[in-house]
């Protein structure tokens, strides 16, 4: 019986995952032994996220580094996305502190689940292996199913969790089937090997592989909520507790896009003509249906859900563009989107109070007179989402369009610009409500410091990325 040689384990590459897993378990266990006051959990979680963010740079300047037989990579994309994840999870935790207290959600697992979810997201952004991508997606999804339904006494929350779970599990099936076909035709789960085999034309049974690619598009389409796989998004966004909705719209979506990009642009670039066409159609549909759906909504969370569907359309263009600029614009877009979304949801939380979440658009009427500063922030976020210069949304869109133009997708850019114009209709509708309608009833808002802090972070980020995008673009590109 000859011994088996030990595999090489690269701990420095894995540092953020290790750190965050340890902290997540710590939060889980500490929660068991403390009383009803969960502030210490918040503190541990935030420290953990900070440590994870710092440890993402453990590799120093020697990136990109591939480890674990090509299953895990530390490169520009993964580090940048790890930063986005840590930030968005931290903001989601901060948003939840006062919200949970107000709405009586006394579940300490909230924090550990967000940390576990972040572990999954980091794995997803760094995975270059189909198995790792699958595991990452599963960790993220399972945490999200639970988080969506964490308000157990609220039927809406239950509905959100159940819908998300059923459709998500179904989508996972598609994803797994797609991966199986990819593996079956190439005999490898490593993206690098698959790309190499495709490049040298050694892949037998190409049609089967194409079927696999189509199934992958369906699976990822569900996870990022692209049309026609977006049906779950409005209900889930509406039913989930507001901080979870904000989290869901940013972190996990960014993670899914990171894996999406890696799989398609790095794993199967040879098949680009085929999947670029498919994704273009999905992107165009997402933009149109997202915007048209949003126009008809009266509930702010549903409106934002449809708006996020249309944003998925824009972001897909970055995946389609696939070269360096494509990945850089993807990173920049997700970062600016994170600031905008957390800012908006912060304001939504402030406007609600115990038992009355005030989610209808008419509850916003007259906000401009009563609380001009809040209304101003909301206006800026809305304009930024629409893509108004000089705010972050504009630069992000501009950047994506540039990437698409470089690859010769002029028609896609034209459609996207048209859609941005349409989207202003409903973003402006919110602003019209705030400034041009009489208030219905009194505003009883919950101005709480931590939530205000999140809004401030959102505003600063939106302005900074809009006015001085240079440094971040530099980080994203080089």
């Amino acid at each position: 019986m000859e011994p088996i040689t030990a595999p090489i384990i690269d701990f420095t590459s894995l540092a953020p995952v290790l750190v965050l897993s340890v902290f997540a378990m710590m939060v889980l266990l500490v929660d068991l032994f403390i009383g009803r006051n969960k502030s210490v959990l918040v503190f541990i979680s935030l420290v953990g996220l900070l440590c994870a963010a710092v440890s993402a740079f453990a590799k120093g300047t020697e990136i990109p580094v591939s480890s674990f037989n090509g299953a895990y990579i530390v490169d520009r994309l993964s580090i940048f996305f790890t930063m986005i994840f840590c930030m968005s999870s931290a903001l989601a935790i901060l948003l939840a502190v006062e919200y949970n207290k107000r709405e009586g959600i006394r579940v300490g697992e909230y924090y550990s689940l967000i940390l576990f979810c972040t572990v999954g997201m980091i794995v997803l952004a760094s995975a270059t292996d189909l198995i790792m991508i699958f595991l990452g997606i599963e960790i993220v999804s399972i945490c999200l199913y639970v988080l969506a339904g964490i308000r157990r006494t609220d039927p809406k929350s239950n509905e959100a969790a159940l819908k998300y779970f059923l459709l998500g599990a179904f989508a996972t099936g598609f994803l797994l089937y797609g991966m199986t076909l990819l593996y079956g035709t190439t005999g490898s789960v490593k993206l690098a090997t698959i790309a190499q085999l495709l490049n040298s034309g050694e892949v037998l049974a190409q049609p089967l592989m194409l079927l696999g690619v189509v199934l992958l598009v369906i699976g990822f389409g569900f996870k990022v909520a692209a049309v026609p796989f977006h049906m779950w998004a409005p209900d889930v966004y509406q039913g989930a507790p507001t901080p979870v909705t904000a989290f869901m719209a940013v972190g996990p979506k960014a993670a899914a896009f990171a894996a999406f990009y890696r799989l398609f642009a790095e794993g199967i670039p040879e098949l680009a003509p085929t999947w670029q066409m498919t994704l273009s159609i999905v992107a165009v549909f997402s933009m149109f249906f997202g915007n048209l759906g949003a126009i008809m909504q009266t509930n702010i969370k549903r409106l934002l859900a449809f708006s996020s569907v249309s944003h998925v359309g824009y972001i897909l263009i970055a995946v389609i563009a696939k070269d360096t600029l494509g990945s850089a614009s993807l990173m920049f877009y997700m970062l600016s989107y994170a600031f905008m979304i957390f800012g908006i949801f912060g304001i939504i939380i402030i406007l609600g109070r115990k038992g009355h979440e005030n989610l209808e658009l008419e509850h916003y009427s007259g906000l401009g007179f009563k609380h001009p500063l809040l209304a101003l922030c909301m206006t800026m976020f809305m304009l930024s989402l629409g893509g108004m210069p000089p705010l972050a949304g504009f630069v992000a869109k501009f950047y994506i369009f540039q990437a698409a133009l470089n690859e010769g997708f002029l028609w896609l850019v034209i459609i996207a610009v048209l859609n941005s114009a349409i989207s202003f209709y409903y973003y402006l509708k919110v602003i019209v409500f705030m400034y041009m309608k009489e208030p219905i009833g009194e505003f009883k808002i919950s101005l709480t410091p931590i939530t205000l802090f999140v809004v401030a972070v959102g505003i600063i980020g939106t302005l900074e990325l809009g006015i001085f995008p240079g440094p971040i673009i530099f980080l994203a590109q080089y």
Binding site: P7, S21, F68, V107, I139, I142
Partner: protein, 168 residues
């Protein structure tokens, strides 16, 4: 020789899978599913994946089916399960979707039929044994193995959060 075993097994499995779909009572469906899992595990054996075949029985036919049964008992569908209520609007949509899927499948099969498949690689007898699986699990795939434990942990937390009757 292997094909002689494979085809009856595959036919048996497909038939039982159809049984799952067309059975009128949920319990009947679940029992068909168990039998189908057994068929699948037989197919794994024909494919030299012995360890997987055993797992299929332990995990699917054993543990997961128990969960299915509990859920069926929990939902306690009485009589409502006899006929699926189909809404008219959905009926047209379903037919449309079905036709589209069939067309797509036809196109796919049409294309696949033209492709030449290589001769299957010769698989050594030890290909799917516990030893072989373990060796790659603990060396090449050690990272997915450890990450899987995080996944299980997250699932455990989720199950307790959602299903524990008194969380306070």
């Amino acid at each position: 020789m292997e094909l002689l075993i494979f085809y009856p097994l595959a036919a048996f499995t497909v038939l039982l899978a159809l049984g799952v779909v067309f059975n009128n009572s949920p319990i009947g469906s679940a029992v068909s599913l168990i039998a189908m899992m057994l068929g699948l595990s037989g197919i794994f054996i024909v494919l030299h994946a012995h360890f997987l075949a055993v797992l299929q029985i332990i995990i699917y036919a054993g543990a997961i089916m128990v969960l299915f049964m509990f859920v069926i008992m929990l939902l306690n569908l009485k009589g409502d399960d006899k006929a699926w209520k189909i809404r008219e609007r959905n009926l047209y949509l379903s037919i449309m979707t079905g036709v589209m899927v069939l067309l797509a499948l036809y196109k796919m099969i049409d294309k696949v039929l033209d492709t030449t498949f290589g001769e299957g690689a010769d698989v050594p007898d030890t290909f799917g044994t516990t030893v072989a699986v373990g060796t790659s699990l603990f060396t090449e795939y050690v990272l997915p193995f450890e990450i899987a434990s995080i996944l299980l942990l997250a699932a455990m937390v989720g199950a307790v959060v959602l299903a524990k009757t008194k969380v306070d």
